[in-house]
Amino acid sequence: MKLTLKIWRQANATAKGSMKTYPIEDIEGDMSFLEMLDVLNEDLINKGEEPVVFDHDCREGICGSCSLQINGEPHGPDRLVTTCQLHMRMFNDGDTIVIEPFRAKAFPVIKDLMVDRSSFDRIQQAGGYVSVNTSGNTIDANATPVQKENADDAFYAATCIGCGACVAACKNASAMLFTSAKVSQYALLPQGQVEAATRVLNMVEQMDKEGFGNCTNTGACEIECPKGISLENIARMNREYLKASLQG
């Protein structure tokens, strides 16, 4: 199929970017979106032009590296897939595809379509872990019984790959779905109880410091999340936060 790509080009973090138009041919429906961009970049390199910079790593939908706002939606028009698993069969011959970086003040553009998502790392570092004594008397995780429903919900929360689609989709650029998934993952397990109060307070404080917007419950994040992380996690984080705040 023949397509017209409108891509955000920006030389570096401080440069002023703009949309550039690129016609592209011989794209097959079985190609992934990133393979289509590989074809474009090969063309550009052959012409002696600067290739388009975009994030990618595993291309299996699990690393959370790929991003891209495609035709107004993070990870494109398909549901529960990342950009690397988005097939070109979702588009039609002659389509124009608008490709932009994930937009948020807390996700500054590094170059073209690549953004700096280290704000997520700093939120995680603020409390998204369980301290374990490894000095020889480590307790086997399986020795602590966990209620089935809680184990399942903790697991679903843990499937968040931290891609940032929730922030990109949210009209407020809020990071509540990501942060709540990381809080929930531990809040639901007995191992996470010791640091429960400080975890949620510190992670929310870091989230606010990074300059993400406030959650207004539009639900866009849940719809666009490639892993289907539920809004229930946000309600749980709100509860955890209130509980921790009231405890002082």
């Binding site: 608008v98 406030n214 419950n217 709100n238």
Partner: protein, 221 residues
Amino acid sequence: MGILSASIAKKVAMALSGLFLVFFLAQHFTINLSSVIDPETFNNWSHFMGTNGLVQFVLQPVLILGVIFHFVMGIVLEIQNRNARAISYKSYKGSKNSTWASRNMIISGLVILAFLGLHFYDFWVPEIVYKYVDVKEAVEDRYFIELVHKFESPVRTGLYCLAFVLLMFHLWHGFASSFQSVGFNNKYSKALQGFTKLYAILIPAGFIFIALYHHFNQLPH
């Protein structure tokens, strides 16, 4: 902003003030509905609300503070949220993942705020002047006549109805959303959501009905 500096604290404060206003709306609607059913009951209730010390000097200031807090906080949040995305998308398909009502709370909210200005000018200011500035004698049966008189104007009736439609949108998202904000999301949420959506339609529709009823059923001159 101290205690309200954290995003979740602001979210909870917004939800609680919203829930308080939803509760007030039900009470306001009940009294207004009585004007359609029995003018005498409407006069009695209005006289009670207008002269009772607890209502006038405790509940009324709390309500006004609640309204001011809700819209000031709403505007503060909107400014912060707009700043969180300095460069906007060339292509953004919000309708694919969220409702118009949820994305435009600021628009419905500002229309309701403008309506409150008109509503205060129409009813609250004359009432305060009557009671506390001119210090006129209490006339128990004046309320119904004053109410019906206000709805003579088709322009005012139209503006009221328009504001109630926007109130419908505001409640459609806001009422259900406030429970999520305070952390309530469980097996009862679906039923609760149904109730909030029903409330969001019925109460504003009822207000529209009352306004139109008095417009088309004017007292004989």
